[in-house]
Symmetry: D2
Subunit: 339 residues, 4 copies
């Protein structure tokens, strides 16, 4: 951390700060410029948790230099981490393809979706059993019954199950049916949920909050990892901006930034980013070209009758056509489809 | 809802939609213009939950006309609602003043804070027992012990307690110590928490999510109210924008917008909006002048040693001076301090 | 400026940087911590304009410490500047009240507006002669004829004229009719226009760009001041965010931030921030309570027939009622209406 | 346009509006629902420019249905437009590759850059002669001398020249040296400049404003096209959001949205979006995969000594390596490099 002193601060101000640093077992490095005096803090800044230097007399501001996450950082694992989910690996040369409807609606619907996306090359079946909805009057999902149907459809087709948990008290039940938990955008900073999922050791897909910075997202991953669960996969699903042409704005730059700062795999959710099925192809190909490790896409046997997010779900033939194009772009950037 | 047809859509497309509307017990009103055909949907659109008109052939887009919240709307209670918290009323001519430290740190600290803010004119004591923090390595609060100390300090000084609950399984315990629950910005769309607080019937201070629209905020209030708890007070605490001079951007316009669309009282949290104690006075006075029903402000006996959010907490003398100025502005807009 | 070295950078990397600094006549102060080496740059960093330290081997990032504006800074004029416009002072105890229609539409309209706002207590008449419009097909203003009508109406009522110039080649003509130029939000970084207005020495009202940071805004003011024109008044008019309930989001925090960082007066434009006339009262009172030096408000004799921005213009009686309330809040914060 | 009436509006309110519409030669289609009455406006809404329906009694809001641009719309040219710049075509199967330094700094620098990017496969040389800079104290470019050096280097290597004009009075001079003008992000709504470039008939690269919606961008293109200049190419260069990991946030979704709404070609500027050279590859490949018609990239013979934007410029070997990868992704999506 660097402490920038105010124009006009006194030697006494500086001495006082150095004294506080010493009291916390930290060193100080003074840099007295023509325009400002700067104090570099030497040592482990976490010792300063209860010393609020920004409030001391003469201090202009404190500039953090290091990020607060450790296990999630690239430094801790320079070669990158590969998540393992029931024998499937996420983060290697092979892309991961997750697909399925927004919500589980019936046994027939989820089975038909599973068969369709499996045939297209997907290896994970997605489908919401618990649906967090903006309005209390909207369809909230089939709940536990949805988990069961997902499992059944996945087993029938040889897919893995990824599904959202929205509260920590669902973890035990959900763990019986899911291979991987999803933490939704609205819960990215539900720290109680993050910690309990960390303790469960179930692999997790961590979506980025709708207005979360990449740093906050990696701090959220750190909550899970600090409980001993390293099977974390990040999912960029669009951020909130002033632009309304798309439901959210896909931050495709998050791919190279995450690859640089973190060891965790990252996939793209073009469905929630776009909000309209006709933009999904462009965003999927962009994500893979940028270096993402896979895609999670909403696919429904009959989007027109879907009970939620209808406008952004692909039909099965559309998904099959998309996967072919994804394969071509993957090959162009040295990646390959799952086999 | 209005359905706008694509340029080039056919009569057959339109007929199909009208048919679907009829099948849902809804009427249609056609408006065939030179540039576009528009279909007005007549009746209760909630019946359309499983008909995804946007995906039907020939449809350009669907434009919602009505908002999705009802109990929280102004229409349902044109004179406005007044929340009742242990005999205190929020939303009438008298402002409510909530104050106290960011976090409860010790018995002495919270008692000193309580005495100071009481003397200044506050009627509610705030203080975090459970602190949601971006990093897992930061101070997370005194937890249940914090609730107890809050209650003790409040009882000793005649204040009401408002404190954050971060998970639905804390509600029973928290209800023993708190007069009012706070739902934090990160949990504004933790729907499980909202519903359970609704069922608890404990009055609630609902903070706006960091990137939530006013409509989403009112939908979140609707979650609580739809469970029978009408003692909801909204709290504007700044939104996330591109500007970094302040921690968040106080959306002072939310005050008149909420007053127009909703019957709920709204207060201002200048501390989290500003992030720096030296801007709090300006934002407090602005909020009251705009028509807010009160203020919640972070006050600490000794901010320099605070264990969290040190830079944004006022000292007790600063708070006392502020309340005087608030009183002057309140009088100028026909409001008054609590007595 | 501070240079943060990468984890793993070598002594050689550091030596190379120190050498480059010396070559530019600058000193270096090394701070070698457990986690990072930091180099404080001593001296006038503007000498580094052509040395791109961020690209040198081993450099993680460069952190600027000082802002780039000087004349606009608080440090240069700690007591604050008062702009002088034809005998009127902006920035002292008295507020400035600017008002008038969005656009000049006819001699009768502008005269009626001038008489109405003058009677209410305004001292400046506003009115667009040149209107920058999003679409080329929208009304673009009466142009030079508009300036003449403004002048005539102002002279008839004893008001000063403030009006927008949108291109540097209008300055000579506009200077004949205007007491103060307005630079609109879209032109805040039209540097050619800023420089020429600086040279013209005509007082200027500089609106904040729709997505400009406060730092960029002060840099824009610096463009004008660096040409010798110190009569600059800033105008906060709302920034672009994700919220759509208002046309823009009034950043009321900009008032205390500007007062801290800059010596320039700042006024509020609630009309463009709100976009709806029914929110203007709240925002006006909020701005004055926050410490702004005045208001610029759109007032039209008959808003329903206005040729632009109809929804956000007040009627003359509405404006008169508003000024009374502004006076009460002004008194509460130690300010007063112009006499 | 659709007019939504307030809950509680009267038949008289509606009659009055219908009357106003008739007075403007427009029809009305009433849709009386259980919750709201809606009036569809039939005919050319531009006739309503001076009727401010939103202010009429009983009106809740007006919802525009059609966009305001016509020449730039997809409807006007369903097969898409191909821009012609001195024999080069932009918008067909072949991508366009524009490259060169941020700023022209010397004859040697621009010639070396030209040779390097030409060898890599670029067909356009970029380079700023006039540089709009945030601070008045930063390097402002070589101005007209820069144009001359660009032309010379382009002629020596067989490249076309694209360079920014920042004021309409530079057009005549710039036209002698440039094959294509660039309108920078800060000038996207400098309507005077847009109109004059429209009249000049010189092909133009129109960058998106830093916080402009896609609709506003297409309206800006319409300004140019409405003067008879149809050789407009759009350039997405990142928008301003809350995320600070990159200089701006590349809105890659703008590619499919623009392709759907507009007939104009669109290219990507990954350099300004990323702000860091190490992210440029990811963003370039993402842009091409998404369907963009080309790339404009900052390339400098020696970025470390560049006089502006050093951190985001590629070296010539980096650019050459990038073009190879771009070629592979282009082939995967059915496009090809220029030959």
């Amino acid at each position: 951390m660097i402490i920038v002193m105010k124009h006009g601060s006194t030697q006494e101000n500086v001495d006082k700060i150095v004294e506080v640093l010493k009291a916390h077992g930290l060193g100080a490095n003074l840099s007295t410029g023509a325009q400002a005096t700067i104090i570099g803090v030497l040592g482990d800044k976490s010792r300063l948790a209860d010393a609020n230097l920004e409030l001391m007399d003469g201090v202009e501001k404190c500039v953090p230099i290091m990020h607060s996450y450790k296990l999630a950082s690239r430094e801790m694992c320079p070669d990158g981490r590969v998540a393992e989910v029931g024998g499937q690996r996420i983060g290697g040369k092979q892309l991961v393809l997750m697909a399925g409807p927004c919500a589980v609606e019936s046994e027939e619907q989820i089975l038909e979706a599973a068969q369709g996306v499996k045939a297209a090359g997907a290896t994970f079946l997605r489908g919401g059993a618990y649906k967090p909805r903006t309005s209390p009057y909207a369809f909230q999902g089939m709940e536990d019954e949805g988990f069961k149907l997902l499992r059944k459809a996945a087993d029938a087709t040889g897919l893995k199950v990824v599904s959202e948990v929205i509260s920590h008290d669902q973890i035990d039940t959900a763990a019986k049916y899911c291979d991987m938990f999803q933490v939704g955008a609205r819960n990215m900073q539900n720290f109680r949920l993050l910690r309990e999922i960390g303790r469960s050791k179930v692999p997790v897909l961590l979506k980025r909050g709708i207005a979360s910075t990449i740093e906050e997202w990696l701090d959220a991953a750190e909550y899970i990892m600090s409980e001993g669960n390293y099977n974390v996969v990040l999912c960029e699903r669009g951020i909130r901006t002033f632009e309304t042409a798309t439901r959210n704005t896909l931050d495709v730059s998050a791919v190279p930034v995450v690859k640089e700062r973190s060891s965790l795999p990252i996939i793209i959710d073009p469905s929630h980013a776009a909000g309209k099925s006709r933009y999904i192809e462009s965003l999927s190909l962009a994500g893979i070209a940028a270096g993402a490790d896979g895609l999670i896409i909403e696919v429904h046997p009959e989007p027109k009758v879907a009970m939620s997010d209808a406008a952004q779900q692909l039909t099965i033939p559309e998904y099959q056509a998309l996967v072919k194009k994804v394969g071509a772009v993957a090959a162009a950037v040295g990646r390959e489809l799952p086999c």
